[in-house]
C-alpha cells in the first residue's frame, strides 16, 4: 500500500515537472478542451441540431473519427507481437509507448461515441444488469464489450510495467506475457468488430462488403505506427529518450507491407465495383467523383490515395525508409491517407446516397470541429501524462528479461 501511495506521489511530481514546451503544450490542450466542452454543452442543450448531420447522413464526423481511432488503438499490437514474442531487441523500448497510445486512442474512441449519442443520460441502458444490452445480436453491444476489454487490458499492462519500473523491480514474465498475448487477439477483435458493425448492414452496400474487416486491419497497421514514429522522434529530441534509427526503420518496413495489403484490397474492391457496374457502383463513385454535381468526398479522397501510394513507395525502398526525412514525410502522408480513407471516406460514401436515393452533402459544422478538437486534446493530454511517467522508466538501463 505504501508503495502504491509512493507511486502516485511520484506520478504527480513527474506531471508537475516540465520545461517551457511542456507547459505551452499543456495550456494549448486545455484551451482546446475548454472550447470543445463549451461547444458540447451547447450541443447538449440544443440537441444534435447544431451538427450538420441529418436523417439522411445520420452519422458523420464523430463516428468517422471514432472508426479511425479504433484503428490507431489496434495498431499497438503490431509493435507488441515482434517485441514480446520474438524477443526482438530493436523495438522493445517502443512497445510501451505503443500501448500508451492504445490507451489514449481508446479514451478518444469512447468520447467520440459519447458525444455522438442523442441521450447520453441513458448510457447506462447499455450495461448488463442495470440496462438491457442487445447481446449477442447488436454489433454495437459487441463493440462496447471488446473496446472496454481492450482498454482495461492495456491499462493494466501499462500500469503494471510503470509500477515495476517505479519500484525498481523487473516485471515478472509470467504475469506480463499472458496479458500481452491476450492483448493481441483483443486488438484484432476491436477492429474486426468495429468493421462488422458497418459490414453487417445490408442496407448500405458500400459497407456490406466482406473485404471491409481485412481492409480495416491493414489500414490500422499503417496509421497507428505512423503516429508512433513521429512521436518517437519528438520524444527523442525533447527528452533524450534512446530510440535507435534501426527500430524506426523496422516499424516503417512493417508499415510498407501493411500498406501494400491495404492498397491491394482497395484495388480489389474498385475492380469489383467498376467492372460489374451495378447500381451499387454509385457509392464507390461518390468516393472518387462528384455524383450529381454535389458530393465532395473526392476532393479529399484523390489526394489521400496518392498520399498512400507515395508513402508505400517511400517505406518500401530501403534508402528512403532509412532516411529520416523521407520516412517522416511517409508518416505524414500515410496518416493523411488513412485518416481520410477510414474516417469521412468510409462514413460518407456509406450513407450517400441514402437508402431512398437522396444525396445530401454533409460537411461538419463548427460545433462538430470544436467538439472533435476537444476530444483529440483529451486524448493527447492523457497520452502526454502517461508518457511523462514512462520516460524515466524507459531511460533507465534494463537488462533483457529472464525466462
Amino acid at each position: 500500500m505504501g508503495n502504491i501511495l509512493q507511486f502516485l506521489k511520484t506520478c504527480f511530481s513527474l506531471w508537475l515537472k516540465g520545461g517551457r514546451y511542456y507547459w505551452t503544450w499543456m495550456v494549448f490542450l486545455v484551451v482546446l478542451i475548454i472550447s470543445g466542452l463549451i461547444a458540447y454543452v451547447d450541443q447538449l442543450s440544443q440537441g444534435l441540431m447544431v451538427t450538420n448531420m441529418t436523417d439522411s447522413i445520420c452519422w458523420g464526423f464523430y463516428i468517422g473519427n471514432f472508426t479511425f481511432l479504433v484503428g490507431v488503438a489496434a495498431a499497438a499490437v503490431m509493435l507488441v507481437i515482434p517485441a514480446y514474442i520474438y524477443q526482438w531487441e530493436p523495438i522493445k523500448e517502443v512497445v510501451l509507448l505503443g500501448e500508451l497510445l492504445a490507451v489514449s486512442a481508446l479514451v478518444m474512441c469512447t468520447l467520440f461515441v459519447s458525444v455522438d449519442i442523442g441521450r447520453p443520460d441513458r448510457v447506462l441502458h447499455l450495461l448488463p444488469f442495470i440496462g438491457t444490452p442487445n447481446f449477442p445480436l447488436s454489433l454495437l453491444a459487441w463493440d462496447i464489450l471488446v473496446l472496454n476489454f481492450y482498454f482495461f487490458l492495456n491499462l493494466v499492462i501499462v500500469i503494471y510495467i510503470l509500477y515495476c519500473g517505479h519500484t525498481g523491480r523487473h516485471y515478472k514474465q509470467w504475469i506480463l506475457v499472458p496479458l500481452v498475448l491476450l492483448s493481441i487477439p483483443a486488438a484484432i477483435s476491436i477492429h474486426t468488430v468495429t468493421a462488422f458493425l458497418y459490414n453487417g448492414m445490408a442496407a448500405r452496400p458500400f459497407w456490406n462488403a466482406s473485404i471491409l474487416a481485412p481492409r480495416f486491419l491493414a489500414s490500422a497497421f499503417c496509421s497507428g505506427p505512423a503516429v508512433l514514429l513521429i512521436l518517437f522522434q519528438i520524444l527523442r529530441k525533447m527528452t533524450g529518450l534512446k530510440i535507435r534509427d534501426a527500430a524506426l526503420a523496422k516499424v516503417a518496413e512493417l508499415m510498407a507491407y501493411a500498406m501494400f495489403i491495404n492498397l491491394f484490397l482497395l484495388g480489389a474492391e474498385m475492380f469489383k465495383e467498376y467492372y460489374s457496374n451495378t447500381e451499387h457502383l454509385i457509392y464507390t463513385h461518390v468516393l472518387f467523383f462528384s455524383v450529381a454535381g454535389k458530393t465532395q468526398v473526392h476532393y479529399f479522397m484523390w489526394p489521400a490515395l496518392i498520399a498512400s501510394l507515395v508513402a508505400f513507395l517511400l517505406f518500401l525502398i530501403p534508402r528512403t525508409r532509412h532516411n529520416i526525412y523521407t520516412m517522416n514525410l511517409g508518416c505524414l502522408l500515410i496518416f493523411f491517407g488513412v485518416y481520410t480513407e477510414k474516417g469521412m471516406g468510409l462514413v460518407i460514401p456509406g450513407l450517400t446516397p441514402d437508402t431512398l436515393g437522396e444525396i445530401y452533402v454533409y460537411s461538419p459544422s463548427l460545433t462538430e470541429y470544436r467538439v472533435a478538437a476537444g476530444v483529440f486534446s483529451v486524448g493527447f493530454l492523457v497520452f502526454t501524462l502517461l508518457v511523462k511517467l514512462a520516460i524515466p522508466y524507459l531511460n533507465q538501463p534494463h537488462e533483457s528479461p529472464s525466462h
Binding site: 449519442i117 442523442g118 437508402t355
Partner: protein
C-alpha cells in the same frame, strides 16, 4: 419475452444486494442534487416490457403530467397489448396513388410529430415511369418545384436548403405559398409512398444496442422512446429510411396536440431519440384503420389482419400483382405494394 424476464430477475438480484442499494442511493443522491423528482423518476424508469402494474401507472401519470405542462392537457396514454391472432399487414396500390401527400399530413397530425424541425414518417417519392422503382431516379421534392431547382422562388429555395425540412410541402402550406405548377400526378410519373415496412426480419431491431426497439406480437415494430439512447445505429441499418431522429426538441403547438395516445405510438417524443411509423398503434389496436388509410382520397391504402383469410389484405396479396420493396434484402416486410390496374 424470455430475454426480458431473465434480465428482470438479474436486475432484481443486483438491486436487492444491500451493498448495491446503499451505493446506488449514495451516488444517486449526490448526482441528482439539482434535479426534480420527475427527472429522477424518468432517469430510473425501466424498459417498457419490464414495467407492469403500479410501476407502469406511475410512469403513465408522470408522462401525462409532462403533457399537461407542455400542452395544457394530459391526454390519455394507452398501453393495450397486441390482440390475439392478429398480424397487421398493409397494402398500397401503386397504380392508384396520385402523390398528393394527404397521407403525410394526416400522419403528422395524428402522430404528434414535431413540426419544427419537421419529421414525416411517410415519404412520397416520385419516379419517372420509364425508370420504374429506381432510387437513383427518386424525387421526394417533386412539389413545389416539379423537381427543377431553377423553377423555385427564393422562399422555396430557402425551405429546400434547410436540411432538416425533408418535405417542403408541409411548411409551405403554413406559409401559404402555393406553387401553381404543383399539380399531381404529373404526366409520365408515378408515386410510391414509403414508411416503415414493419419487417418480419427487421435490421433495425438487430442493430439496436439497448433493445429499445422490438417487434410486437401483432407485427408492429415499436420503440420505447424512454429507453432509446439515440445512437442512430437503427437508422443506418434501416433499408427504407423509415426511422427519424429528433435532432432538436420537437416543437408541437398545444392546438396541434393529439391527446389520444399509445405509449409505443404517438405520444410526444423528446429530443435525442428515434421515432417511426407504428401503423397508428393507438388506433389499430382499438380496431380502427391507420389514419393514412382513412385519408387517402383514391383508396390506394389498404390495411388488415394477415391471419384472417377473409381479410381484404389477404385477398389483395392472393389476387393482385404484389411488389416488395428491396426484396433482395430478405427483410420480409408486412407492407405490400400492389398494382390493381
Amino acid at each position: 419475452m424470455n430475454d426480458s424476464t431473465r434480465s428482470e430477475i438479474s436486475r432484481r438480484e443486483f438491486l436487492s444486494s444491500s451493498a448495491g442499494t446503499v451505493l446506488a442511493g449514495f451516488s444517486l443522491s449526490t448526482l441528482f442534487a439539482g434535479c426534480s423528482k420527475e427527472d429522477i423518476e424518468a432517469f430510473l424508469q425501466k424498459h417498457f416490457t419490464e414495467l407492469s402494474g403500479e410501476d407502469l401507472q406511475k410512469v403513465l401519470r408522470r408522462l401525462e403530467k409532462e403533457n399537461e405542462k407542455k400542452f395544457g392537457k394530459g391526454g390519455s396514454i394507452d398501453t393495450s397489448p397486441a390482440m390475439k391472432n392478429v398480424l397487421f399487414g398493409y397494402g398500397l396500390d401503386i397504380s392508384r396513388c396520385i402523390g398528393c401527400r394527404r397521407c403525410v399530413h394526416a400522419c403528422v397530425k395524428e402522430n404528434n410529430q414535431g413540426r419544427e424541425p419537421a419529421i414525416h414518417w411517410i415519404r412520397v417519392i416520385e419516379f419517372p415511369k420509364e425508370a420504374g422503382i429506381d432510387f437513383a431516379e427518386a424525387n421526394p421534392y417533386y412539389c413545389p418545384s416539379a423537381g427543377k431547382e431553377s423553377n423555385l422562388n427564393s422562399a422555396q429555395k430557402e425551405i429546400l436548403s434547410d436540411p432538416l425540412s425533408q418535405y417542403p410541402l408541409y411548411r409551405e402550406d403554413k406559409k401559404n405559398n402555393t406553387d401553381a405548377q404543383c399539380k399531381v400526378p404529373r404526366p409520365e410519373h408515378f408515386y410510391v409512398p414509403i414508411g416503415c415496412q414493419q419487417c418480419k426480419n427487421p435490421p433495425c431491431v438487430k442493430a439496436c444496442p439497448t433493445k429499445a426497439t422490438w417487434s410486437e406480437p401483432d407485427g408492429i415494430v415499436v420503440i420505447d422512446y424512454n429507453w432509446c439512447i439515440g445512437c442512430r445505429y437503427c437508422m443506418a441499418a434501416c433499408p427504407y429510411g423509415a426511422r427519424h431522429f429528433n435532432w432538436a426538441e420537437p416543437k408541437l403547438e398545444p392546438a396541434d396536440f393529439n391527446p389520444s395516445m399509445h405509449y409505443l405510438g404517438n405520444r410526444p417524443r423528446s429530443r435525442g431519440v428515434v421515432e417511426k411509423c407504428t401503423f397508428c398503434i393507438q388506433r389499430t389496436r382499438k380496431g380502427l384503420y391507420p389514419v393514412c388509410v382513412e385519408i387517402c382520397p383514391v383508396g390506394a391504402r389498404k390495411f388488415g389482419n394477415l391471419l384472417d383469410p377473409e381479410s381484404e389484405i389477404r385477398y389483395l396479396i392472393e389476387n393482385k400483382r404484389v411488389l416488395i420493396l428491396k426484396n433482395e434484402l430478405a427483410t420480409h416486410p408486412k407492407f405490400f405494394y400492389f398494382y390493381s390496374m
